[in-house]
């Protein structure tokens, strides 16, 4: 499929970005899915997406259609919020969609808005994406002029506005409830759930809200045009469709690749990306950026399909599919240290285990990296991380525990070598 057609990165089939509306309409079947949707019953649109098996691409993989169906139909005010906060380490796919094929996202978001009866779509972008936001604003204006946004869209009686909003630079605002707080102008900290965003009282300004990732919504136009059955044919049984895999680290050809979920790690890393750098061999993989459990790149792992269910079987997650590859030159304790620094910096501080735990882990890892630690310190951070996991307010606490628990599980010898000063810290940090 990589060489034939794409679902999300359709511009690759054409060979150049599809920015302007007239290009999107002419060359990528622009807004056909939305046009079809607004002629359908709202519930039928939701059923179609449900039937497609489309799962959320932000990381958790929650079925999108099911999420939409949670929205109470009789509430007068509802919202769609697009999560374009793309902050997971090693993830750079949403930016690509917005930069190269922006109308597909807008179309997907509008389809969702129609299906749930939302009054407005808010696209929440990470603060660094100011140029992307600016460009999106132009595309939104273009769509409005063409009658896809505004009052009585396409004569359907459905009215909706689309806005962009920039965050202020916090990883946690990719978490949906923290995102909503930030969007409301509050401190970016996660909320207590329930109520969930899809429920009255839990969403934006207290109204029922769908929060979907950019990539998730970008799949919707294709589903509307080609139907759920066609979509289900792609990928695996529990992971329908394609996924945008972001590959970085010690690899010949890093980048974003759109592949069906039934692709194996070997196919992607060796066939498509050309394997590790010359003279090196694969050591480990973070399949889901810093937040997912690390796995050693054994044959077993390499022959695993990159789907939600297959990754669960090898005790990791595919998450947002940000594959960070490490070869045999890398000490994994250094990786853990880098990742923990990230989480200590990004913890919002709202709940105790994450606020204090990330700070503490970072301090001990500093000792390990300086060669000033003992085996007991490694046991200690393992225990601290395990104490953190499962009792935090949001998932960030678990994410921050993962890099410790799983790196020690698979690569304890790297920690011992580092702790006892046998291996100097990697150059740079």
């Amino acid at each position: 499929m990589a060489d034939s057609k794409h679902i999300v990165l359709r511009h690759l089939d054409i060979g150049k970005p599809i920015i302007k509306l007239k290009d999107y309409e002419k060359r990528a079947g622009g807004y056909d899915g939305f046009k079809k949707a607004v002629k359908m019953e709202k519930s039928a649109v939701i059923d179609e997406v449900k039937a497609s098996g489309l799962r959320g691409r932000g990381g958790a993989g929650f079925p999108a259609g099911v999420k939409w169906s949670f929205i109470p139909q009789n509430e007068p005010i509802k919202y769609v919020t697009v999560n374009a906060d793309e902050s997971e380490t090693g993830t750079f796919k949403d930016r690509l969609i917005m930069e190269q094929n922006p109308h597909q996202l807008i179309e997907g978001a509008l389809t969702c808005a129609y299906a749930i009866g939302a009054k407005a779509v808010y696209i929440y972008l990470r603060g660094e994406f100011w140029d992307v936001a600016h460009m999106l604003d132009e595309r939104i204006e273009e769509a409005r002029k063409a009658g896809y946004i505004g009052e009585n869209i396409l004569g359907s009686g459905f009215s909706c506005e689309v806005y962009t909003h920039l965050g202020a630079g916090a990883y946690i605002c990719g978490e949906e409830s923290a995102l909503l707080n930030s969007l409301e102008g509050k401190l970016g900290q996660p909320r207590v759930r329930p109520p969930f965003p899809a429920q009255k009282g839990g969403g934006l300004y207290g109204e029922a809200t769908v929060v979907n990732n950019v990539e998730t919504l970008a799949n919707v136009p294709w589903i509307m045009v080609n139907g759920a059955d066609e979509y289900k044919k792609i990928g695996t049984e529990q992971s329908a469709g394609t996924k945008l895999y972001c590959v970085s680290g010690n690899i010949q050809k890093p980048g974003v690749y759109e592949l069906p979920f039934d692709t194996t790690f070997r196919e992607l890393l060796e066939t498509v990306c050309g394997g590790p750098p010359e003279g090196r061999s694969f050591k480990a993989l973070l399949p889901s950026g810093g937040s997912g459990p690390i796995v050693p790149l054994t044959d077993e792992v390499l022959d695993t399909r990159m789907s939600y269910e297959d990754c669960a079987a090898i005790d990791t997650i595919i998450g947002s599919a940000s594959l960070i590859v490490m070869d045999d030159s890398v000490n994994i304790a250094w990786v853990a240290s880098k990742v923990i620094k990230f989480f200590a910096h990004e913890s919002c501080g709202k709940c105790t285990p994450c606020r204090e735990g990330t700070y503490w882990l970072d301090k001990v890892l500093d000792r390990i990296m300086a060669g000033q630690a003992t085996a007991k310190d490694i046991e200690r951070i393992d225990d601290v991380a395990k104490n953190m996991a499962g009792i935090t307010l949001c998932a960030l606490g678990d994410f921050a525990a993962n890099p410790i628990i799983h790196t020690i599980k698979h690569f304890k010898e790297d920690f011992l070598a580092m702790a006892e000063g046998k291996e100097l810290a990697q150059a740079g940090d």
């Binding site: 916090a170 946690i172 401190l187 970016g188 900290q189 207590v192 200590a344 910096h345 990004e346 913890s347 919002c348 501080g349 709202k350 709940c351 105790t352 285990p353 606020r355 204090e356 735990g357 990330t358 700070y359 503490w360 301090k363 001990v364 000792r367 200690r380 601290v384 104490n387 953190m388 499962g390 009792i391 935090t392 307010l393």
Partner: protein, 848 residues
């Protein structure tokens, strides 16, 4: 009894550690586990008065529910016939759970124990080990819960601890120790949810997350001290108490706030102190739980204002005038001398008493005056009236402002409650949060106005929502004509399930206030609310015992009568007549002899023949009757000040010396006499007033997590006096508003919480928050007077003049200048009057 279980409460069954309990549906799990099962689920961030946030993660439990078939909804059973329980795989926070039928929790499993131990360990990683010098040490939830749930050993390297500012002043009153802070946000949420003024916030994130104030001056609120009580660690301390004493050295003495009509229940934390000659001394003032009155909150004035009781300026010796000098004397000879003077007046004796005098003092004083043949008992100050109507159409027995909510309505008219009775303002605000319709009517902007219910249906007003901004001085007319001129608001009020009207006296003469209060009473009677529980009239009578003055026979109208027909001998008790009223010296000069009983050598004392030092609320026992007619008892806390004795004792001994019967031996004995002779007090004894009951939420018991040894109410919740009499809707004549002539302006005195009165000024730490004197004008009036904002101005009025700052804004109505009382040591108008304001051009000193 204040309980979560009302008559119409739906009960559900929950199972805690294997045992079933019936609890009110929708209650918070932490509260319910404590209330019904005595199960103290540990918390740091959760507080029963505020919404749960699930931040600290201390209240971890195992949570489950009865398993039901997804399709049919039928309960699934085990083989043995018991319902199957589906447990969450992860631990859940109890504070974020509302109880529902079939809820199962476990609080004592190994998993729960480990979870809680982890949270304690995390909290302590960067917490300093300065418990031995921490104000909270000894009553600290973090200490207590560490003992109960912590593992006792730290695994954190000491060098890795985070070091932060330990003495950060959030304002003049509250200091923040950033190392001790555990980021529970109780203080932020208190300001936001309870006060409605979010002057605190979080700044930064992660381990750097810290509390900041975003007001200027810092932490600008009248309720800041409460945050130090609810702080679960020693992060927030008051400038008054920090490093002052250790909690375990303190004796908690139940008392009542001496400041205003709310009658906040307090605890005076005392110890024998070298700074007070080894006598018992108040080290701090803490709230004492009384859910009917102040819940668990007190205003900063109540908390910090105790310094006057030990002021160097306190009157500690008897002063008897000899010519132009005073000389000291002894009580025995003074009783005789005073009695002789009184008898010689041949019945031309009257008394004026203020709101600091207790029920016992007032009763004895009334006995003395009537015993001598006098009949004039005046209440000070003659600004507020209507206590007689509060006795008839006030809130009936069993009422609780804390129960007002959806479907109920509140009207606050002619009162700046935040400045007059801050606790009522706090409780009415939370009632508004619960859904009560809050209407605020005033001739100027008050802080309460901002809290008036937003109501898009009320249109064409100066201010948004359910607020009425009327022409200066026209409150009585507005109330009398509410149904005509504010039809929509009047309808909302009349149709409410419960209606509370707070009728202040701002901008009104005594006659004007009488018209307002009667109109308010009429409204309550006409709408059928009079006599209904949780409905009625409140008047922010000045002082702590305004209603006591009424019940003991003192009235402000009589004060006017005394001024119009001065007696030969006047007894003044706790009334700073000359400091308060610039016109009083005119009629006082016609009084032959003034006998003053007071705390200070104030202006009236200096004009008196006999000056008798009496004890404040801190040094004696007694009782006050609050604005809701609740008689509340306070106890002796602090050592005596010089020769001062309780006023009831001084008056009783004078009566004895005048052969009017034996002096009573105790305040309790006076109360026995009151109960016998004052109908409203029938059945009230000190024993009745000392009764307590279990209150919800339960914050004062043996629990380890709400902190503070003072909450527990062991001193009594008092007794509310039943309504008496049957007020009828009466025709009201609204007196004409004051008219200013050419070049003149109407001066409208207002009350400020922090002022330069004798009682408040000894509280040095709050002095910077006392406003400099000012006169507040509408731009139109200012223009006519050629005054700009910030100009110096001289205000001239009957009996004096003072230089102040001019404030010009449209926050006040046209036609009158707002001129707060007691911001200077000079007497300024007590009631609305006509005066002049002139610009002062030469470099001027304003008279603070």
């Amino acid at each position: 009894m204040v309980t979560p279980v009302k008559e119409d409460t739906e009960l559900v069954t929950i199972n805690i550690d294997g045992k079933d309990y019936q609890v009110p549906k929708g209650g918070n799990l932490v509260d319910m586990a404590k209330w019904v099962a005595g199960n103290d689920i540990p918390v740091f961030c959760y507080h029963p008065k505020m919404d749960p946030v699930g931040m600290c993660r201390m209240c971890l439990i195992e949570l489950g529910g009865v398993a039901r078939d997804r399709a049919t909804g039928d309960i699934q059973y085990n083989d043995d016939g018991t319902p199957q329980i589906r447990w969450f795989p992860k631990l859940q926070t109890a504070c974020t759970q509302t109880v529902n039928d079939g809820m199962y929790i476990k609080t004592n499993t190994e998993q729960v124990k480990e979870g809680r131990e982890s949270v304690i360990e995390f909290l302590l990683t960067s917490h300093p080990l300065d418990c031995p010098i921490c104000d909270k040490g000894g009553e600290c939830p973090l200490q207590n819960l560490t003992m109960a749930h912590g593992n006792g050993v730290s695994r954190m390297y000491f060098d890795d601890k985070m070091h932060l500012n330990k003495h950060y002043p959030l304002g003049d009153l509250i200091y923040l120790d950033r190392e001790r802070c555990i980021q529970c946000a109780r203080c932020i949420r208190f300001q936001d949810e309870i006060v409605g003024d979010d002057v605190l916030a979080f700044h930064e994130r992660g381990r750097r997350l810290q509390i900041i104030t975003n007001s200027d001056p810092g932490f600008d609120t009248y309720f800041s001290g409460n945050t130090t009580d609810i702080c679960p660690v020693g992060a927030l301390t008051t400038g008054d108490f920090r490093f002052g004493a250790r909690p375990w050295e303190l004796t908690e003495v139940p008392s009542i706030s001496p400041w205003d009509a709310a009658g906040e229940n307090i605890s005076l934390s005392t110890r024998l102190d070298r700074d007070f000659g080894g006598k018992a001394m108040i080290k701090r003032v803490m709230p004492r739980q009384n859910e009917y009155v102040n819940e668990i909150w007190i205003s900063d004035k109540t908390r910090f204002g105790h310094h006057f009781t030990r002021s160097d300026n306190r009157l500690s010796k008897i002063q008897i005038r000899k010519g132009s000098n005073f000389s000291e004397s002894t009580w025995d000879s003074t009783f005789k001398a005073v009695a002789k003077t009184l008898k010689e007046a041949n019945g031309s004796v009257a008394a004026i008493a203020g709101g600091s005098a207790t029920n016992e003092d007032l009763y004895e004083l009334a006995q003395l005056v009537t015993g001598l043949g006098g009949d004039k008992l005046g209440a000070w100050s003659p600004t507020h009236t209507g206590a007689d109507l509060v006795a008839q159409v006030g809130l009936p027995e069993g009422s609780n402002l804390g129960e007002l909510g959806a479907g109920d309505a509140i009207l606050v008219i002619a009162s700046d409650l935040e400045e007059e009775v801050p606790m009522w303002r706090l409780r009415l605000k939370t009632a508004q949060d619960r859904g009560a319709y809050l209407v605020v009517a005033n001739g100027r902007n008050t802080r309460l106005e901002e809290l008036a219910t937003e109501d898009p249906n009320i249109k064409g007003r100066v201010v948004d929502g359910a607020a009425i901004r009327y022409e200066a001085g026209s409150a009585a007319a507005v109330m009398a004509n509410l149904k005509k001129s504010n039809k929509d608001i009047a309808k909302k009020l009349a149709d409410a399930n419960h209606l509370v009207i707070v009728a202040g006296a701002e901008g009104l003469t005594l006659e004007g206030h009488r018209a307002l209060v009667q109109s308010a009473a009429n409204f309550l009677i006409d709408s059928g609310h009079a006599g209904k529980v949780n409905s009625g009239l409140l008047v922010p009578l000045p002082g702590a015992n305004g209603m006591g003055l009424h019940y003991m026979g003192f009235s402000p109208e009589t004060t006017q009568d005394i001024a119009a027909n001065p007696p030969k001998v006047l007894i003044v008790l706790n009334a700073e007549i000359l400091d308060d009223d610039p016109t009083a010296k005119t009629w006082l000069s016609q009084v032959d002899t003034v006998i003053t009983l007071g705390y200070f050598m104030d202006a009236i004392a200096r004009e008196s023949k006999f000056v008798l030092p009496v004890q404040t609320f801190a040094e004696r026992d007694g009782s006050f009757t609050n604005g809701e007619r609740r008689v509340q008892r306070f106890y002796t806390a602090q050592g005596p000040m010089g020769d001062a004795i309780p006023a009831w004792k001084a008056v009783g001994n004078i009566a004895q010396a005048a052969d009017l019967g034996r002096a009573k031996l105790s305040a309790a004995a006076v109360m026995v006499a009151i109960a016998k002779n004052v109908a409203a007090f029938e059945g009230i004894t000190y024993k009745v007033l000392a009764r307590t009951e279990r209150q919800f939420p339960d914050v004062g018991g043996d629990d380890k997590y709400y902190g503070g040894n003072a909450y527990q109410n062991t001193g009594g919740i008092g007794k509310q006096i039943a309504l008496s009499g049957t007020a009828k809707s009466e025709k009201v004549t609204v007196p004409d508003a004051l008219k200013a002539g050419k070049g003149e302006i109407v001066l409208l005195p207002t009350t400020r919480l922090y002022d330069r009165s004798h009682m408040f000024i000894p509280t040095v730490m709050v002095r910077s928050r006392v406003s400099l004197p000012f006169v507040h004008l509408n731009p139109k009036d200012a223009k006519a007077l050629k005054l700009a904002d910030g100009d110096y101005a001289e205000v001239n009025y009957d009996g004096g003049s003072v230089r102040v700052r001019a404030v010009v804004s449209d926050d006040v109505s046209v036609g009158a200048a707002v001129f707060p009382r007691k911001l200077t040591e000079k007497a300024t108008p007590l009631v609305p009057t006509v005066g002049t304001i002139t610009k002062v051009t030469e470099p001027a000193q304003i008279e603070g």
